[in-house]
């Protein structure tokens, strides 16, 4: 369960998030859509405090986020993020990408972390690439490894920030089906997904939020927003995907 309470975010003087109040229930898949610059990625990044909000509170499973190193460590390890640009650790191979934080943050032994890494890499179909360096992988492969890296932390929450936006079209499908498999295998996982893949959002979402100009314009259950958008701005945005 994630709660955002009166969240404001300013970059210098520019407001990027304007009074966001949201709760995300445990085990739900929440998709955030909206045009570029609408604040959807910033919203996601305030959840794990990569962008601490200028005002307001973030609560993760009843604990309030703050900038103290201890809090950040405790809450972030439970809510890792999958980035648009993958951000795999360039100097480490696939296996070590998945074990580094397990060892550093969760204090797992080398052996234990290695087992977990290989199990999650199998889930995303990347186990046979365990000793490759990131630069030897395609975009789709990198993104599946970064999903495995996040899952290796055994998180309760997973944050996806436009996970397929930097991919060649033919690789998008593989990553999306990886995300779908993960969601199906771990129904307790709370997922926040920022994406432009409307067809995917429609299939997978328990809830879809449409953001524009730093505000949540429409917040609907399931795929309702696609069938009957209530606000003209939402309809206008969605019509550009037809």
């Amino acid at each position: 369960m994630i709660t955002l309470e009166n969240i404001f975010k300013y970059f210098d003087e520019t407001p990027v998030l304007k009074n966001i109040n949201l709760s995300f229930q445990k085990g739900t898949i929440n998709v955030i859509i909206g045009p570029s610059g609408s604040g959807k990625s910033t919203l996601l990044r305030t959840v794990n405090f990569l962008e601490p909000p200028t005002e307001g509170n973030v609560w993760i499973e009843g604990e309030r986020m703050d900038e103290k190193p201890k809090t950040l460590q405790n809450l972030r390890q439970n809510a890792p993020m999958v980035f648009q640009s993958f951000n795999l650790f360039n100097h480490l191979n696939v296996h070590d990408n998945c074990t580094l934080a397990q060892r550093a943050v969760l204090r797992k032994s080398k052996k234990e972390a290695g087992h977990k890494a290989m199990r999650t890499l199998e889930k995303v179909g990347m186990a046979s690439y365990w000793n490759r360096k990131p630069k030897q992988l395609s975009g789709g492969q990198k993104q599946r490894v970064s999903i495995a890296r996040a899952l290796s932390m055994e998180p309760r929450i997973l944050l996806f920030d436009e996970p397929t936006s930097a991919l060649d079209p033919e690789m998008v499908g593989g990553v999306l089906s990886t995300i779908r498999n993960v969601a199906e295998e771990q129904p307790d996982l709370t997922i926040l997904l920022v994406t432009h893949e409307m067809a995917f959002a429609r299939q997978i979402a328990d809830r879809v939020l449409f953001m524009d100009l730093g505000e949540v314009i429409e917040d609907r259950k399931g795929a309702d927003i696609f069938k009957t958008p209530l606000k003209p701005r939402t309809a206008q945005f969605l019509s550009s995907f037809q």
Binding site: Q77, P80, H91, S138, G174
Partner: protein, 261 residues
């Protein structure tokens, strides 16, 4: 190491006139002195660069540490103090010639009653000087790393310290190996200025031999050739090192086929 008195005892040796004959005679006669000087030069360059690099790692961490809104009062001011110290240090050591630093350091300490062995003084000066340059090299190396690397580490719950130790400094170091190697080569040559306080490195030995026989061109030609050979060997070894550090398995099968999960 004072080579002059030793050289004076061999002054009876005749060095033939003429550039080539003279150079050859000096080389044959004084090879042990040149090699002794070379040994000191290499010692200064290698120790100075290595220890300077270790100091630079500490300094760069002090310099780039982030001060957050929530940082408590005392650590916050300690951090500001650390940054100010490193910035001042780097400005002073990069802004003055190493030759002048050596003079102030050696004679300054002597006037305070601290008499350091000359070699130790030389080692300290070259180390402190190198630390300043390498701090800046490491800083630019850290800044050239994609911010996504840091965000990824932090998003997994790693602390700032872990992020630097396990990711950012490792990558910066790898990227910076050519620049660090360059600093070693600069040090091989620039430690010549330490002769000003009497460190018996290659330049000092060359000058001692030259002075003893008034054969400056010949002696410094030998010195130049030794520097050149040593620098060329260092360049070769550094190239091998970066090739070894950057090596990756050959087979790059990045095909996506049959891998969809």
């Amino acid at each position: 190491m004072d080579g002059r008195s030793v050289i004076e005892s061999t002054l009876s040796t005749t060095i033939r006139p003429g550039f080539f004959a003279g150079t050859l005679d000096l080389f044959v006669e004084y090879l042990p002195f040149y090699l002794q000087g070379l040994l000191y030069t290499l010692l200064l360059a290698v120790v100075g660069t290595t220890v300077g690099l270790l100091i630079a790692f500490v300094f760069v961490v002090l310099k780039i540490q982030t001060v957050k809104r929530v940082t408590p009062f005392i650590p916050k001011n300690l951090k500001h103090l650390g940054k100010a110290f490193v910035n001042t240090y780097v400005t002073i050591f990069r802004g003055t010639p190493m030759m002048v630093q050596a003079m102030i350091f050696y004679y300054g300490l002597a006037s305070l009653g601290v008499r350091l062995p000359i070699l130790a003084a030389g080692l300290i000066v070259v180390t402190l000087n190198t630390a300043a340059y390498l701090t800046e090299i490491l800083r630019s190396g850290l800044e050239s790393i994609d911010p996504g690397q840091r965000e990824a580490a932090e998003s997994l719950g790693m602390t700032t310290r872990q992020t630097y130790q396990k990711i950012l400094l490792v990558q910066a170091f790898k990227n910076m190996i050519p620049a660090i190697g360059n600093e070693l080569i600069v040090n091989i040559k620039d430690t010549a200025v330490l002769s000003v306080i009497g460190v018996g490195e290659l330049f000092y030995m060359g000058r001692s031999v030259a002075g003893a026989h008034y054969r400056y061109t010949e002696s410094f030609m030998i010195v130049a050739i030794i520097y050149l050979i040593v620098v060329m060997i260092a360049v070769y070894l550094l190239k091998q090192l970066s090739r070894w550090m950057g090596k990756t398995p050959k087979d790059l099968n990045t095909s996506e086929s049959g891998q969809a999960a």
